[in-house]
Structure formats: C-alpha cells, structure tokens
C-alpha cells in the first residue's frame, strides 16, 4: 500500500516536474515575452519622452552607496589608465555618426555639465540615492552628427565577467533624455573605481544594469543584432533580463 507520506512526496514530485515542464517550455517563454512588450509599449505610451525622473536633495543622499557588479575591471589597459589617473584615457564616440570623436576626460569635464541627485534602483530591489555630474549624452550625439539611421546607442565597457565584456544599450528616446548623462563625478568626488571610473552612464528612468560603468566606447547602431549576444546588453544576453528596464 502507498503510505500517505509516500503519496505526498510523489504528488509534490509530479507537481514540481510539471512546473519544470511549464517553466522551460519554449511556448510558455514566448508567451511571457508578451508581458515585456506590453510593458515597453504601455510605459512609453504614458511617459512623456522628456518626463524627468524624480530628483532629490542632498539631505536625501544614501549615507553609503552600495557598489554592485564589477568592483575593478581586470584588463591591463584599464589598470594602466587607472595608474596614471586616466590622463591618456579617451572616450570614443562612433558608429552611425557623421563625425566620430574621441574625447579626453578633461574635454568631457570642460563641456556643459548637468548635476542631478537621483535614485539608483537595482533590479534586485534595493535603492540608493546619489549625486551625479556629467555631460548630457544628447549634446555629444548632436556634436557627432548622429545619423537618422541610428536606432540605439551601445556602451562598450572596460569590465568583463569571466572574459565576456560588459555592454549595454538604450534607444534614442532614453539617449536624448535631458537626464541621460555620462557621469564623471559622484557625490562631488571623482567617480570611484567601484562606481565606474572614469565615466559611467546615468539613464535615470531605468534599472541599475542599464547604468553601464567603465564606458570606453559609444556606438550608434541601427540594430542590436550582431552585437555580442544580440539582446542589447550583458545581462540580457546572459540571463534573459528585459532589455527595457523601466520596471
């Protein structure tokens, strides 16, 4: 006879293997991506392209801003840049642009700046408030005469996870947003290495994994296909995180 205990274990086993079959089914996964599409469409529909993320006061700053992702890029090139205080570091801006540019850190700091106190929201659920100063990305993209064919801006970074380079991408709505800046200063100090020195992206209406650190090269592209895994970012490629990180 089957004991009650045995029956319960058997039933929960069946239930769990049933769950496995559901969660790994390609049809189910495809159905679930409908939610992501609806979220992107719905959120873009109700959000003005220039609507600002909330800004805070210095009284609201997190006492200690948690470092996440990579703490220190492992590449020798980055190490040499760090050793001489990024004096020879240059940011490349290219791809579908009329006039590709390379900019030193000093040139970036000499350009018009924006300072904002904003909240950083990690996909895991925590938030930290920090003050960021940097150059509006829209300014750089206009100076490089970005092509009409460009649909996305890709940020290539100096850090990697087990040899796979970090990168991220945003569309032109986020790229041209007034709060989207290349930040070199955090809480009135040069951007610390843990937070992405010398320059990180701040795209304030999106989750933390979009805020690419250690940005080395910016590329305007017509499509994300063919760039690394093709899903528009390191975490998107690796784990299937949503490309649209508005929630």
């Amino acid at each position: 006879m089957i004991s009650r205990r045995g029956a319960l274990i058997g039933a929960s086993g069946l239930l769990l293997s049933g769950c496995d079959r559901i969660t790994t089914s390609p049809t189910v996964r495809k159905m679930l991506t409908l939610g992501e599409k609806a979220t992107l469409t719905g959120q873009r529909l109700v959000t003005d392209r220039n609507a600002l993320a909330p800004e805070f006061t210095r009284a609201d700053l997190s006492p200690r801003f948690r470092v996440n992702g990579n703490f220190m890029p492992k590449s020798p090139i980055y190490a040499s840049h760090l050793a001489n205080g990024f004096a020879d570091w240059k940011l490349e801006v290219g791809g579908l642009v009329g006039r590709p540019m390379t900019l030193t850190l000093a040139q970036l700091k000499a350009a018009p700046q924006r300072t904002q106190i904003t909240r950083h929201d990690c996909v895991e659920g925590w938030s930290a408030i920090g003050e960021w100063t940097g150059v509006p990305l829209a300014l750089l993209l206009r100076q490089t005469k970005i092509s009409d064919k460009a649909q996305y801006i890709v940020f290539h970074c100096a850090d990697d996870f087990s040899g796979i380079p970090y990168y991220e991408s945003i569309d032109l709505i986020d790229a041209m947003h007034p709060q989207t800046i290349l930040a070199h200063t955090m809480n009135r100090q040069p951007l610390p290495v843990g937070h992405g020195a010398p320059v990180r992206l701040r795209v304030e209406r999106a989750l933390g994994y979009k805020q690419a650190k250690y940005v080395m090269r910016i590329e305007a592209v017509a499509s994300l296909a063919g760039i690394h895994g093709g899903k528009g970012g390191y975490w998107e490629d690796r784990s299937g995180y949503q490309w649209f990180a508005g929630i």
């Binding site: 929960s12 769990l16 769950c19 496995d20 969660t23 996964r29 159905m31 679930l32 991506t33 409908l34 939610g35 992501e36 609806a38 979220t39 959120q43 109700v46 959000t47 003005d48 609507a51 600002l52 993320a53 909330p54 805070f56 609201d60 997190s62 006492p63 200690r64 801003f65 948690r66 909240r119 929201d121 990690c122 996909v123 895991e124 659920g125 925590w126 938030s127 930290a128 408030i129 304030e204 209406r205 999106a206 989750l207 975490w235 784990s239 299937g240 995180y241 949503q242 508005g246 929630i247």
Partner: protein
C-alpha cells in the same frame, strides 16, 4: 437565549434535498479563476524577486548598509526572520532548508529554481493579466449591476448590531442556510470588496511605484506611498494580505462544503444548504 439555539424537535420530517440555484454568472466565474491563476503566479514569482534582496525598508532608499524593518536570512545553517528587533528562527522553512539557502524556498517560487530574470518575466506577464482582468471585471460588475446587487453592503447590513451578529455566526462556524445562503453575507462582502477595491488596486499601484520609468510619468505615486522602498514594503505586505485572504477563503470553502462551493464557482449552480441539524 435566541430561537436558533432551541432544540429541533424530533417530529420534524426529514429535510427534502434543497434546490439548486444559479448563483454565479459566467463572467464572475471566469474572473475568479483568471484572478486565482494570476494571484498565485504573482505571489510565487514575487517570492523569486523578493529572494534577490530579502530585506525591506521604509523611505525613499534602502540597501545593504541601511536599516531594514524585515529581513529573511541565514546564519550558517540556521534560517531566521528578523522583524524590527525581534528574531524568529525559521530553519527548515525560510532562510535555510536542507535543499535551499534562499529566503523563500523553491517549493513556493516560480520558477522552482532561482532565476530573477525568469521570475520577473512571469511576474510582469501576470501583472498585465491581473490589471486587464480587474478592469474588465469592474466594467462588467458595474454594468451588470453585480456590484450594486450582490456585492454592495446594504444599509441593514451596515448596522453594527447586524455586523456583530454576522461575526458571532462566523466565529461559531454557522453559515447561512436556505434562501439566506443565496446571497453573500456581510463579512463575505467586506472581504471581497476589500480585495477588489483595496488590495488589488494597492498592489498594482505600489508595483507601479517601484518602476523608475513610471516615477517619471506619475511622480505623485511616490508621495502617496512615501518613497520607492516604502512602496516595496507595502507591496510585500499586500502579498502577505493575499496569503491571509486565500487561507481564510479556502478555509471557508472547506467548512461550508467544498463540493457544493466548487460546483458553484465552476458551473454557477449552488445547492442551498439545509438548516443545521447540529443539535439533533
């Protein structure tokens, strides 16, 4: 001593089987099951998302260096739940089990392994199902007068004495019988109205408040809930309230006659319960 407790005389003829009545219309039944499915999927995928950072805070920000009001964690091989200054051991249930070191074990999560990315896919898909089906149900409930006829609390039911009577009857597990069982009773109405007009809307709005993009579109949501981390805490408390509702709801179904109740929410047909024979 009221009439109900007086002994039923043995001379009463045996009760004839009570008649079947059509109690729940198709749209109500569809909404019930769609809602049941989405709430379960949302609770379980929400558990996966919570596992990514099983700490809750009040205010605008909150991360590892800040003071949480709730933590589910582990210390060595011991699981615990810390609530304010109180620490409750939860080894084997939360925080640490022989087969999991996550705050909420995989038996209660979707997917049944840890994947924040997949948990989010499930959560946001069913969040849309919840939102769309709630809107459709509300439109139906208003236009069909389901809301005003079956769910609205009558002025008679609103009287404290009436409510108190209903509470007493529930506490004694005595449910309405005969024709009185056709309608929802006042406590039942309060529970359902609370879910439809408080719990589901608050859980949706606090969910939206956690979206950095929607913070730009609707900044007042942050003011209503007191900041993103407060919204996250309230979202979690709503999830706990859903668990409590489901527990009591299922308990009531079991106590009131599970076969009859299930038939009525699947087919719509409900057999009016006979008068109690508990004193026979």
């Amino acid at each position: 001593m009221d009439a109900e407790t007086s002994p039923v005389t043995l001379q009463n003829p045996p009760e004839a089987p009570q008649k079947l009545v059509y109690r729940s219309r198709l749209p109500v039944r569809i909404w019930h099951w769609l809602n049941a499915l989405s709430i379960f999927a949302l609770l379980m995928s929400g558990a996966t998302i919570f596992n990514a950072h099983p700490r809750l805070y009040w205010g605008k920000f909150g991360a590892n260096y800040d003071q949480p009001w709730l933590v589910i964690g582990k210390r060595g091989q011991e699981g615990f739940l810390a609530l304010g200054g109180l620490e409750i051991p939860t080894t084997g249930f939360l925080g640490y089990t022989p087969y999991s070191t996550k705050a909420i074990p995989p038996l209660f999560t979707i997917p049944n392994y840890y994947s924040l990315a997949e948990g989010r896919q499930w959560h946001f898909f069913f969040a849309w199902v919840l939102v769309i089906s709630l809107i459709a149900f509300l439109i139906y409930a208003i236009l069909s007068k389901h809301l005003s006829r079956h769910l609205a609390i009558t002025s008679e039911e609103r009287k404290p004495s009436h409510l108190w009577q209903d509470i007493k009857q529930h506490a004694r597990l005595r449910f309405p019988t005969g024709e009185a069982a056709r309608a929802y009773n006042p406590l039942q109405k309060i529970a359902y109205l609370g879910v439809i007009f408080v719990l589901i809307p608050v859980v949706i709005l606090t969910g939206m408040t956690m979206s950095p993009n929607l913070n730009a579109a609707f900044p007042f949501l942050l003011d209503i809930f007191g900041g993103r981390q407060s919204a996250r805490s309230i979202h979690f408390l709503c999830a706990a309230a859903f668990c409590a509702f489901i527990f009591i709801h299922l308990l009531m179904v079991v106590l009131a006659g599970p076969i009859n109740e299930l038939r009525s929410i699947v087919t719509g047909w409900y057999r009016l319960p006979s008068a109690r024979k508990d004193l026979l």
